[in-house]
């Protein structure tokens, strides 16, 4: 009985999310669902980067590279196995199964990349580590541009359109559940300890190097998931999707949401994605307004939307704090 309860608790978010997403999927117009998928991808990216930048306090500005690794690997799997049909199963189902495998392989490949990047954390900190992650991003891009199998600058087109709101939504649920449970576990607290004080964490028995590398691996795996989901929506993967600018966009989302705040990352990713979409109406002024928005948001909420806290911690505090007339 107790066991069944525990199992149920473990899978509950997925059980709840799946039917809801099916329902949402059916009711969304294709443009709205495209935007929703975009938001989902950005949420996965922001929350996963938060594991490194927010929880662990390291500074990675090469998240797009992990995305690229996951996206390309998954693309190779789906295009390679496209003709393969599992006998006795309808084509649609077998296609979904292949996609699931592709996502898993993409995450795995990305996590290997995360391991490679995580290792320099042995010796490097702060801005020096940032340069390594940035450099790694460039190296990945250069490798892709020089590899014929990966289509060089053109990339791989004609990918199956597997990603829909259900897949993307489940990706978000998986990522958020991962981050949340991580944060509430002793493993996650080890990461927080590293962020707060590396020397003290080490002295308290936290294997700081090991946990930093692990944080990179986890973060990379989910970035890979985001990449794989994105490219199977637009049915194309090219190196241009994974530039330095993309990495910076994710950093912006994390900082804007508040370092270490999961709900902050979610809200920031959604707000920024929707803002960019809405601002299409502003023509050439679009990015000018967007950048002003960025500056203003940061100036008014310097610790991010929710600081290191979650949305439910912050909402009542606002009310309490405003009362004594303290400047926000």
């Amino acid at each position: 009985m107790e066991r069944a309860r525990l199992v149920l608790r473990s899978v509950a978010p997925f059980l709840v999310a799946l039917p809801v997403l099916w329902f949402v999927q059916g009711s969304l117009a294709s443009y709205t669902s495209f935007v929703a998928i975009n938001i989902a991808v950005n949420v996965i990216l922001a929350v996963s980067l938060n594991v490194v930048n927010g929880f662990t306090g390291q500074f990675s500005i090469g998240h797009a590279a992990f995305m690229a690794v996951g996206a390309y690997t998954a693309a190779l799997v789906t295009t390679g196995l496209e003709s393969l049909a599992i006998p006795g199963v309808p084509a649609a189902v077998s296609g979904q199964a292949v996609f699931l495998v592709a996502l898993a392989v993409g995450m795995l490949a990305a996590s290997v990349a995360g391991l490679v990047v995580g290792i320099p954390t042995l010796r490097l900190r702060g801005d020096y580590l940032a340069i390594v992650t940035l450099g790694f991003g460039e190296i990945i891009r250069v490798i892709i541009e020089n590899t014929r199998v990966l289509g060089q600058a053109t990339g791989i087109s004609g990918l199956p359109a597997c990603t829909n709101v259900v897949w993307a939504g489940m990706g978000v649920v998986l990522t958020v559940v991962m981050a949340r449970r991580l944060l509430q576990s002793t493993q996650g607290r080890a990461l927080l300890a590293i962020r707060e004080d590396e020397v003290a964490a080490e002295a308290m028995g936290v294997d700081t190097v090991g946990w930093k590398v692990r944080a990179f691996v986890i973060s990379a795996a989910f970035a890979g998931l985001a990449g794989a989901l994105l490219v199977h929506k637009i049915q194309l993967v090219t190196p241009r999707m994974f530039t330095f600018v993309k990495s910076m966009e994710v950093v912006v989302m994390v900082v804007l949401g508040g370092m270490g705040s999961i709900t902050g990352s979610i809200v920031a990713a959604a707000v920024l994605t929707i803002a960019l979409e809405t601002l299409q109406a502003a023509d050439q002024y679009r990015m000018v307004i967007f950048s002003m928005l960025l500056i203003v948001l940061m100036l008014t909420r310097p610790s991010g939307l929710f600081g290191t806290r979650e949305i439910w911690d912050v909402l009542p505090r606002w009310r309490r704090r405003r009362a004594p007339g303290e400047a926000p």
Binding site: Q152, A153, T154, G155, A161, Q235, R240, D283, M287
Partner: protein, 393 residues
């Protein structure tokens, strides 16, 4: 804090004003309009209006605007005025796909135009196909844009060359007309257009018995190309093929001359801009490039376009503006001929385009949905492009 508030206010009012300004201009219907009114024709354009390739996107957009204004002055297509809605792709494939979806599904455009880069057109093509909206790309040259694996994409067309054709044209010209034996290549490694041209050039040039002595690459936006040029210079080729955009080629030409290289440079239609001569100056003299048309072509069709464009936007049109103009023109011409306003009818009409007198050549759409038109080879002389020869497809 006061500064912050002032900025917030400024940003908000900018946003508001931009939306209002749009409405005031009257070239876009209210945002919530589910379907275009039957008495109007709505054209969607996805272009990189901001970002590192904004110059190409904005040129194309202006070309399209000019085409629309000219048609509207004549009374529109079948008596209906045309309006344009442009969405920005920021140079990103994923944004191009979202923008295309929004235009096709929400705004229900009758015709989709865009993108410059093949990587972004490739992201838009499934959207056009999936929703049965005809799409014409002005300048995406990768064969896969109109052809997915072996299957021709039913709703996607182009009015430009494809990479194999243009690469081959220049290889033939270099080998047969100029009798060049040793050539070096300098390509933009991050640009699929440049990569495509270089690959086909290389194959054809070798096939014709020439040798490619060096194959170097650069990245768009680089400031310095001397490393590659020094290496090329040492191999002593008779010409250097640089199938990039004018933005980089102008600097490459300058730096080649600074290193004492006297060989002519060879290029493709990406060179087509007055800026090439302005920035390249004397360095670009004596180089050759393939193009759709010669801006010096005395034919009134071309001269009128150049004049009208200059009057409207204050600058000489570049190749991308001309292609944007042609893409729109071919589209409107087809709509005018189409049996009705449905996507399929317009699609069929575009596919049936034959000998359309565009600015960038006499355009015929073939079974692969590609434009068949002869290429011209131009030489740069006294800061102008001079017609050398025509190469038929």
């Amino acid at each position: 804090m006061r500064a912050v508030r002032a900025m917030a206010l400024l940003a908000a009012s900018l946003a508001l004003a931009a939306c209002q300004g749009k409405k005031a201009e009257g070239d876009a219907p209210a945002k919530s309009a589910a379907a275009p009114a039957a008495d109007k024709i709505l054209v969607g354009h996805v272009g990189s209006m901001t970002g590192s390739e904004a110059t190409f996107g904005q040129s194309t957009d202006q070309g399209i605007k000019l085409a629309i204004e000219q048609w509207n002055a004549k009374g529109g297509v079948k008596g209906k005025p045309i309006t344009l809605r442009t969405y920005d792709s920021q140079g990103k494939p994923e944004e191009a796909a979202v923008a295309a979806t929004r235009l096709v599904v929400n705004d229900k455009v009758n015709l989709l135009l865009g993108e410059v880069a093949s990587s972004r057109s490739l992201a838009m093509a499934p959207v056009a196909d999936g929703n049965g909206t005809p799409m014409i790309t002005p300048s995406s040259t990768n064969p896969r844009v109109t052809k997915d694996k072996d299957k021709v994409r039913p709703f996607v067309f182009r009015v430009c060359f494809i990479d194999p054709f243009q690469g081959t044209v220049m290889a033939k010209f270099a080998r047969n007309d100029r009798k060049i034996e040793k050539v070096a290549i300098l390509r933009d490694v991050g640009n699929d257009y440049s990569m495509g041209l270089a690959d086909y050039f290389l194959a054809k040039f070798k096939e014709l018995g020439g040798t490619v002595v060096d194959d170097q690459s650069y990245k768009a936006g680089d400031q310095d190309f001397k490393a590659q040029l020094t290496a090329i210079k040492n191999k002593n080729p008779q010409a250097v093929y640089v199938p990039g955009y004018y933005t980089d080629v102008a600097l490459i030409a300058r730096q080649a001359r600074e290193l004492g290289m006297k060989q002519p440079l060879l290029g493709g239609d990406g060179w087509d801009s007055a800026k090439l001569f302005e920035i390249g100056g004397k360095a670009i003299e004596g180089s050759f490039y393939s193009n759709h048309y010669s801006p010096d072509d005395p034919s009134p069709r071309i001269q009128e376009f150049v004049k009208a464009y200059k009057a409207r936007f204050g600058v000489v049109p570049d190749g991308l503006a001309a292609q944007g103009y042609d893409a729109a023109m071919v589209g409107f011409d087809a709509m005018n001929r189409a049996a009705d306003g449905s996507g399929a009818a317009i699609r069929d009409a575009i596919g049936a385009t034959k000998d359309y007198p565009g600015v960038t050549g006499i355009i015929t759409i073939d079974a692969n949905h590609d434009a068949v038109k002869p290429a011209v080879v131009l030489e740069v002389k006294d800061g102008k492009s001079v017609f050398i020869t025509t190469v038929a497809p």
